[in-house]
């Protein structure tokens, strides 16, 4: 009897004394922020964390790419039952919420974490070159994030010469209560180009197995930014130099024979290799699944998107153009439509989630140079510009070429359409070149047909989510909502 009392006392006493750290628990799959980045491996893991975020369907895994296509004249939604239908008909009141607004800033925070860790000497292993490479990579990704925010939420530079609101510049790790405001488009582009120019010399030119950004990719991106900024000479200079330099590297344009194979399904995912300067790499076990862009294009998937008759007619004008192979007519749910097969399933009736998405291909660099040359006031660039354009034209059909007289901005834009369809460019091409968004007939849904919208239409860019103005009243005070959008 007494023994039991003693036993009870012991149990109780044990419970009390054994508890000094009983209540200290740690999350199962996370690391405390203070100790997260302490060596080069950690920093590289954060780089891959950024790509993992970019890979999600809320960003390059679907939304950001389709955003660049669905609002223009190449791609349309199959029917009204689709989350992106509202973008297709320029009705943004029920848009994707915070995805496109907040993801770039989340990327900027994580990139800043890496940059600060290196700048503050927290990373002590590795050589200077290795540390610089990671730092340069982080700076370049941060610049890319700012570029995306500037081109989706800011008007093209041509409108008011960049004086309207663009991206929020985030160049450090923000405290919880820091409230930066939007910068102008001009300031945004200045920041982005300066950052890329700072990053490029730090970065290595080695190819990553997943084709993440290296110094070549960063230069291609810089050329693209200058083109958007309407600094054509700069754009030409960077693109042209890069093309020439890459001629003596493992990078090259696909050949005509390789072209279809490059966009065919491959579970290994390395088809874009010779051209790929930046891509989103999906694997059978790591992909955005049913929300992926590919699955939404595939007829065995959700067939959310099809090719417009307008584009189908354009590409069919030259049946020998190899890029006809990017479109396939299929009957789905009783309707016959042309579908894009740039991100195909593993067979006609078998969908795939793990297609890779090219973000910068060498072909685009050629077309940037061609476009910058024709837009430049410096006529001497045109010879080389035409040569770059014809490299793309003749790759598609060796019997075709563009003559000097035919070399116009519209011809370059047409070539961009054919070459880059479905890669998220067309809408921005029209926007930054002051063109119209026109849609007629074809399979356009009744509510989208007859569209004739000017590039500087209020709703051709997105509005800032309302709640941001409540959380950051200074933005409201400065009138930083985009025209046409309200504050609540």
């Amino acid at each position: 009897m007494k023994k039991i009392i003693i036993l009870l006392c012991i149990i109780t006493a044990l419970l009390f004394t054994a508890c000094s750290d009983f209540l200290d628990t740690l999350p199962p799959t996370s690391i405390s922020s203070e100790v997260a980045i302490e060596n080069l491996d950690d920093a590289e893991s954060v780089i891959h964390g950024i790509y993992n975020d970019m890979q999600s369907s809320a960003y390059y895994g679907h939304e950001l790419i389709i955003y660049g296509d669905i609002r223009a004249d190449d791609i349309q939604t199959y029917n009204e039952n689709n989350g992106w239908y509202n973008f297709y008909v320029f009705n943004h009141k029920r848009g994707p919420g915070y995805d496109l607004w907040a993801t770039p800033m989340r990327i900027s925070r994580n990139a800043s974490r890496i940059i600060e860790a290196i700048d503050n000497g927290k990373i002590t292993d590795g050589t200077d070159t290795e540390r610089n490479n990671v730092k340069g990579h982080a700076i370049a990704l941060r610049a890319l994030a700012h570029f995306d925010q500037a081109r989706i939420y800011g008007y093209p530079y041509a409108k008011d010469q960049g004086k309207l609101w663009g991206a929020i510049i985030i160049d450090h790790v923000l405290e919880a209560n820091e409230l930066p405001v939007r910068n102008t488009v001009e300031e945004s582009f200045t920041f982005i180009t300066q950052e890329l120019e700072r990053a490029i010399p730090l970065m290595s030119d080695q190819k990553h197995p997943y084709n993440t950004l290296n110094s070549y990719g960063a230069r291609a991106l810089l050329a693209r930014v200058y083109l958007y900024w309407d600094k054509n000479d700069k754009a030409y200079e960077i693109a042209g130099t890069l093309i020439e330099e890459l001629k003596s590297s493992s990078y090259r344009l696909f050949t005509r024979d390789e072209y279809l194979e490059a966009f065919a399904y491959n579970s290994e995912g390395t088809n874009f290799n010779p051209e790929s300067l930046l891509e989103i790499f999906n694997t059978p076990s790591d992909n955005p699944a049913r929300n992926s862009l590919g699955f939404n294009y595939q007829t065995a998937g959700y067939y959310s998107y099809c090719v417009t008759k307008d584009f189908h007619d354009l590409i069919r004008t030259d049946p020998d153009d190899i890029r006809n192979g990017m479109v396939k007519v299929a009957t789905v749910a009783q309707n016959e439509r042309p579908f894009l097969i740039k991100y195909p399933g593993s067979a006609d009736n078998v969908a795939a989630f793990d297609n890779n998405y090219p973000l910068i291909r060498l072909s685009e660099v050629y077309l940037i140079a061609a476009e910058a040359a024709i837009k430049s006031s410096n006529a001497s660039l045109k010879t080389k510009g035409l040569e770059y354009l014809n490299a793309i034209v003749q790759r598609a059909n060796p019997n075709k070429s563009v003559s000097n007289a035919e070399y116009t901005l519209d011809r370059v834009l047409e070539e961009r359409r054919k070459e880059l369809v479905g890669e998220g460019h067309r809408f921005f091409d029209l926007l930054r070149n002051g063109k119209k968004f026109q849609r007629t007939g074809g399979y356009h849904l009744p509510n989208a047909t007859g569209f004739d919208i000017s590039w500087d239409y209020d709703f051709s860019i997105l509005g800032v989510p309302y709640n941001e103005f409540i959380l950051n009243p200074m933005m409201k005070q400065l009138g930083q909502q985009n025209p046409g959008y309200t504050y609540e």
Binding site: M1, I4, I5, L8, C9, I11, T12, L15, F22, L23, T25, L26, P27, P28, T29, S30, I31, S32, S33, E34, A36, I37, V46, H48, G49, N52, Y78, N79, E80, N81, N91, M105, R106, R109, N110, I168, I170, L174, A176, E178, Y210, F281, T283, S285, D286, A300, Y302, V332, A333, Q334, N335, S346, V350, A352, P446, N447, E468, I470, L471, N472
Partner: protein, 1021 residues
Amino acid sequence: MKLQTQKKLVPILCFISLLLGLSMQQVMAQSTITGKVTDTSTGEPIPFASVVIKGTTIGVNTDENGMYSIPMLANETTLRFSSVGYENREEEINGRTIINVALKIAAETLEEVVVTGYGNFRKSTYTGAATVVSMKKLHDSPVVSATKMLESHVPGLSLLAGSGQAGATSTLRIRGQGSVNASSAPLIVLDGVPILNVNFSSDGNVSSVGMDAMSAINPNDIESITVLKDATSTSLYGARGSNGVILITTKKGGEGKTNFSFRANTSIDNFAVDYRPTMGGEERRELIYEGFLNYYTDVKNLSEADARVEADKLIDNYAKVPEGGYSDWRDAVLKKGHTSNLDLSINGGNKNTKFSASLGYSNNKGVSLSSAFKRYTGRMNMNHIFKKFDFNMMFMFSYADTRLIPEDTYYAGAIYPIVANLTPSQPIYNADGSYAVGFPTNGGYNPLHEDANTIAYSKVGRLIGNVGVGYKIIEPVHISSTLNVEYNNVREFRFWNPNSNDGRTKNGVGQLYTPNYMQLTSKTTMSYQQNFGKHQLNGSVTFEARDYEYNYSYSRKENYGYWGNPAQSNATEPVSISGYTDIDRAMSWIGVMNYNYNNRFYLSGTFNSNSSSRLSSESRWGNFWSLSGSWQMANESFMKPLSHWLTSMRLKASYGSNGNLPDGWYAYHSLFAASGQYGSYPSLYENTLGNNKLTWEKGIVTNIGIDVTFLRRINLEVDFYQRDTKDLLIQRSLFRATGFSSVWDNIGHIRNSGIEVTVNSVNIDKKDFRWTSNLNIYHNKNKIIKLNTDGSPIYDGRMIRAEGEAWSTFYVREFAGVDVDNGDPLYYSNEEIIDQQTGKISRSREIVSGAANATPIAYKNAEPTIRGGLTNTFTYKFIDLSFHLSFHLGGHTLDNRWELMDDGYTPNSNKSIELRKRWKKPGDVTDVPKYVAYSEKGGWYTTSYKVHSTNHLRLKNLTIGLRAPDKWLKVVGISSARIYFSGQNLLTWTGFKLYDPELWGSHGVSIPPLKSYSFGIDISF
């Protein structure tokens, strides 16, 4: 160490009781009948036995020594004696003034006892606010989850939206919504130990329905359920009691002959409401055609003839006539459900050892596709007394095999596709009889095809065991220790074979979730109980520690060579494997003291010091307390003049505090997630911003109650309460430039106040005929006092959480009817006007067309102002009949499936029959606008047009039973036998008929409550 504590405790308790005792006056008792109640087998007194005057609700309880005294009127002739674990006994008075009775141990108990886990109380002496529901009343219903049975039987308890599928979760709230991001769910306590009440499903598809932990417990094992509502009761549970506590007491054995009982029932189940009726094929086709016609004439300005040409071209894309005629998807996907339950239980024991055991089996075939629920349960309770020791143990197991069909907006679910997406124009079958697939809507999915090509089950094994040992140290001091282990093993398997839409891509996909949930609770209590003349005192000190581990594990394999057997071993491609362990721990010290003076004054105090691993070491301890008392006034001399009609009157009051924790287990940490990957590269990503200062959410609860009995037959119980939650745990929104959407913080203040009324009456009590009624009504008012640092509202879907408004207030544009001339919907502009001089804010009431010109406002509250239930029970000779009605008044829902009732925006979906009322020609007076394809004038669901009243009255249960006469039973040697018919949700009277009026807030789609007809039999030997 414990002994020292005990030695100190005694003099302190004595001192306090002395102080209290001195301040009270002794009052003379009435002339009464007195006596002693004893146990037949032992002859020992039975304390706290209930003595009730037959035909009234008035009664007293025996004291520690089994003694009682009760005032009687001349016309009252019989006393009814009862006590927990004993058979009832009636005694005619026949002029006696002293009546001593001995009670026999019974198999089943009846007494209402409030079991708090920190001491048991008879309802009549309990100072807090609690409702006890004996499961006897509810056993006849075929519902598989006990908590679901409670609806409208307990004032203050509400059941929010849930699916009608067996095994699906329902959301419980006690006295309103008290938290924002901390849990608002009540704590569930089984035989004194908190058990897990989580959604056991890890799979996203099924989580949309939720797999209810409570449905693993067999309702037939439950003796009674006590719902604790105020601080007296809930502060005992510290962290987890702030949202109220539901105490489940399992059946216990009794002394005497071993008793067997057998129960069986079977039911047929169907929808209780005609759920979201939609148009048939031809009617829908006409509507869509009309929409295109209007579109081309109104919007594209074509002539009617030209518009017809265009509409003719389009109509088949949206509303084709299928070759085999229009489809009836509901008929194909839905069916009649079927439930059967079998239970066998055994009770018995002797003076020192008592036991109770049971086995149960339930089988349910659901109303949609292959939905099903099967459960096996077993339970054993045993207690034993040996000298100064007492031992008790409870062991319960259950094994449930559930097939839940996804709800929400899953294409492969049942209810969403057939209600919203799959129109009569889409064929169900191909010409060859196979399932048609590849529709322009619903992602191309045919739910029947998917169901046939999917193997999915969720199996839950649940083990709960309690072992306790107690020891009486010296006469008034008792020490006990209990260890509780709860282990839940879940196995959820999903297999999509290569024919299914989801499995085709991968040549078969097998996903297996095998999480387990392990909870250890240890509780050591030292209690003290003593009487000093008319003073009764008891108290206890408890130390409790809890360790809860959640072990997650998941694997996915693809590419099945042979898929007749979908075991993961039969697939070739391992795609994903993951696992981790989450830990949640808590410790607390609990002190309780109860004082009773002559059964007239009762005082209680509690103290709880609680700590949790969910908070940082600098803020993890929280101290909570309560004080309560009650006063039986009727015995006081100044009340004597009223005694001819006022039989009893008890006043009670309580005040106290409790706490709540964040839902997230690691909310205070700043974190980089390490679980992500980019292809084959590991990744790190900062995904959480921490707050080291995060602390307890505090609740302050005041309760004032009165318990009166009139005319000896009508008992009225009224409770008023105010429940304030301060330092609300809120995920404060962050400006997105920080990289985060929110950070945890303690901000805000919500108030719930209300009144609860219960009336019990014995209307008729004759020899052969008895009629009793129970009515409960309650009202809860919720108000947000403070919400954010800057006072800005939080928008949550179509709800607004704003200071000064109720938590569940809708945020919509105000609909002003339909323009008689052109069929356009009209709205009140409701633009904010700030008076420059006074600063007062008003709203413009201009009528505008086009939703864009109207400002959204806080509009109507989802929570009903009044809810309640009414039960009437009639017994005539061997027939019993009872019916239970429930009602809501003043509540609202918002219809979230706008596409069914739009004004033309989505020509692809099904259309509600409400659109029959649409405006067609000038002069039409209606609430439904003109139907124009792609029109957005209806503003979709953002207008008050979609907000509906939920006022309703429902016949929730009707039971008719026949008891076999004793004469017959004696012949066959059965002690009792009864057959019954029971109907669930038989009738509903409501104004809004498109979906279930018991729902709350925004409603999308879910299986509505079921109407069941069941037939059952109970036999005891």
